[in-house]
């Protein structure tokens, strides 16, 4: 049971990470900075509960806000570069954030024990959940409440005019500008929203693992973040969820019995999945099929 609860937690947190890349990707920007925003959320929220004695929700929201502000600030210089240059610039930013936390030490004495982020050793004892008597199930429910909220908000945004504007910007910036869309506003907003979502995920992650360190927020995590929406397809937020379940549930946990062969198969299966479903696991056609299923059911009830 604990195994499945743990897996559900990982899937929820990685879904947030994937969704943060999803809304940036809609505007045509490939950002490898999402792990950096995730780290900012994690450290900020951790410091809030451990040193600031804040409530978990206050801490997570503050962490998300901090990540969002940094993401918006990154959004402006990112406007000037695109394509591969943006990838390089965002990788550089992500590494800068990681190195910042590599060097970040803020020790405070609490009940005779020194707590807080400690540079290379990382940030240990983020023990809000155990200290306040949260069970594994409570934590899992919190993670999925936040994830479901973000999913619902993005789903709604996708279907509103904002979604059409984001996609139009991603498809053809010049055409979007010439019908009155401000590229600056759209791209910076997408970056900020992505930062907030990654920050939410980071704040939850810090409290679930209770121990974070710089090495967890490297390029590998950023690659996962961008891989989820690409693998899942950009037709809807549920493609990203499906991709996280596929990668975390099936490829990483499901294939654990294969031992050292797992990593080899992991890569091969991702290549296979992308070849079989080139426009994502859940593409526009898949959505239409699902939509028709639901419609038929509704008609059946009526």
């Amino acid at each position: 049971m604990d195994f499945y609860a743990g897996l559900a937690q990982v899937i929820g947190i990685h879904t947030l990470l994937g969704l943060s890349a999803y809304c940036v990707l809609l505007t045509g920007q490939v950002s490898i900075a999402q792990a950096g925003f995730f780290a900012i959320g994690a450290y900020t929220a951790g410091v809030m509960t451990v040193i600031g004695d804040a409530h978990i929700l206050t801490a997570i929201v503050t962490g998300a806000a901090a990540a969002g502000v940094v993401a918006a600030l990154i959004g402006f210089p990112a406007l000037r570069v695109r394509g591969l240059m943006l990838v390089v610039a965002t990788v550089a930013f992500g590494e800068a954030v990681r190195l910042l936390f590599f060097n970040f030490t803020w020790r405070v004495e609490k009940d005779g024990v020194m707590v807080g982020p400690t540079g290379t050793e990382g940030f240990r004892q983020i023990r809000y959940f155990p200290e306040n008597g949260w069970s594994t199930l409570d934590v899992t429910l919190l993670i999925w409440a936040v994830t479901a909220l973000v999913l619902a908000a993005l789903w709604w945004m996708d279907r509103s005019r904002a979604g059409a504007v984001l996609r139009a910007t991603g498809a053809d910036e010049l055409a979007a500008q010439s019908v009155g869309v401000s590229i600056t506003a759209v791209k910076v907003s997408a970056m900020a929203i992505g930062g907030v979502i990654a920050g939410l995920g980071g704040g939850l992650y810090a409290h679930v693992t209770t121990h974070i360190e710089h090495a967890q927020f490297g390029v590998m995590l950023a690659t996962f973040a961008i891989a989820y929406p690409i693998l899942g397809g950009l037709s809807s937020v549920f493609g990203t969820v499906l991709a996280v379940i596929f990668v975390q549930g099936f490829l990483i946990e499901g294939l654990r019995f294969m031992g050292d062969w797992r990593n080899l198969l992991f890569g091969a299966l991702i290549v296979l999945a992308m070849n079989l479903r080139p426009s994502g696991l859940l593409d526009a056609q898949g959505l239409r099929v699902l939509g028709n299923l639901f419609k038929r059911k509704e008609r059946g009830h009526a």
């Binding site: 509103s160 996609r167 055409a175 010439s178 019908v179 009155g180 869309v181």
Partner: protein, 248 residues
């Protein structure tokens, strides 16, 4: 309505536009013609803000918009179509118009649900003959339909001046006639039109006045019949020197 004065654009050493002046009156259909490479497309891109001019000013209703970004010029009342169609192919016909529907309305309009403004956009779709294609992906439309959707999308941005960059390119005569009717209808609804075009059947049949460009300069301006009889224009288009012609 639209006032272009002393417009200059140099690309490195190439003087693509080399001092152009023209004024489009409110409610007018104004043609801009010239041989290939004469500076027509560059002029359109300068007016829309794709390029910043080397020198000169662009005014709309007396307001200087030379330094505005492209989206700011849409707010100021200019919308355009593209010579090579640039639709959002992955969005539906309806969503293409939705993106263009930029009127001020605050966050509520930004997040407004589709249904509420469907009827407003439906009228524009009707006008473009695309009502039956509302939920088709723009990329799946035929060439003629894509041209019509580009026109509809520009209209959906609710401009006062509409820039049409070679809208008849690749059309057959029947389609050109339909386009001519649509342009006249837009004018009847109060729009001012700047038409950049190669297809003479359209230019001569719909415009009130025409400016002719050659090598980045304006060589003539006048009514269609004046332009058709202008020796400089004939020389630019036919490459014929009338005197040398007479000597034969």
């Amino acid at each position: 309505m639209l006032e272009v004065s002393g417009l200059v654009k140099h690309f490195g050493g190439v003087k693509a536009v080399d001092g152009i002046d023209f004024t489009v009156q409110a409610g007018e259909i104004f043609g801009l013609i010239g041989p290939n490479g004469s500076g027509k497309s560059t002029t359109v891109n300068l007016v829309c803000g794709v390029f910043a001019p080397t020198a000169g000013t662009i005014r709309i209703e007396g307001r200087d918009i030379t330094r505005l970004q492209p989206h700011g010029r849409v707010a100021a009342g200019i919308a355009r179509t593209f010579q090579n169609i640039r639709l959002f192919g992955e969005l539906t016909v309806w969503e293409n118009l939705w993106v263009a529907d930029n009127r001020q309305g605050g966050i509520r309009r930004w997040l407004a649900s589709g249904q509420r403004i469907r009827s407003e956009m439906g009228e524009i779709l009707e006008f473009a003959g695309l009502a039956h294609r509302r939920d088709t992906l723009a990329g799946a439309l035929s060439f003629g339909e894509q041209r019509r959707l580009e026109l509809a999308r520009a209209v959906a941005a609710r401009p006062r001046v509409l820039l049409l960059d070679e809208p008849a390119a690749g059309m057959n005569l029947e389609e050109v006639e339909q386009l001519r009717q649509r342009i006249l209808e837009l004018r009847a609804r109060g729009l001012t039109v700047l038409l950049v075009e190669h297809v003479m059947e359209l230019v001569m049949g719909v415009t009130d006045r025409i400016a002719v460009l050659n090598f980045g300069r304006k060589i003539a301006e006048g009514t269609p019949s004046q332009i058709q009889n202008d020796p400089l224009v004939r020389e630019a288009y036919l490459g014929v020197n009338e005197e040398a012609d007479a000597a034969h």
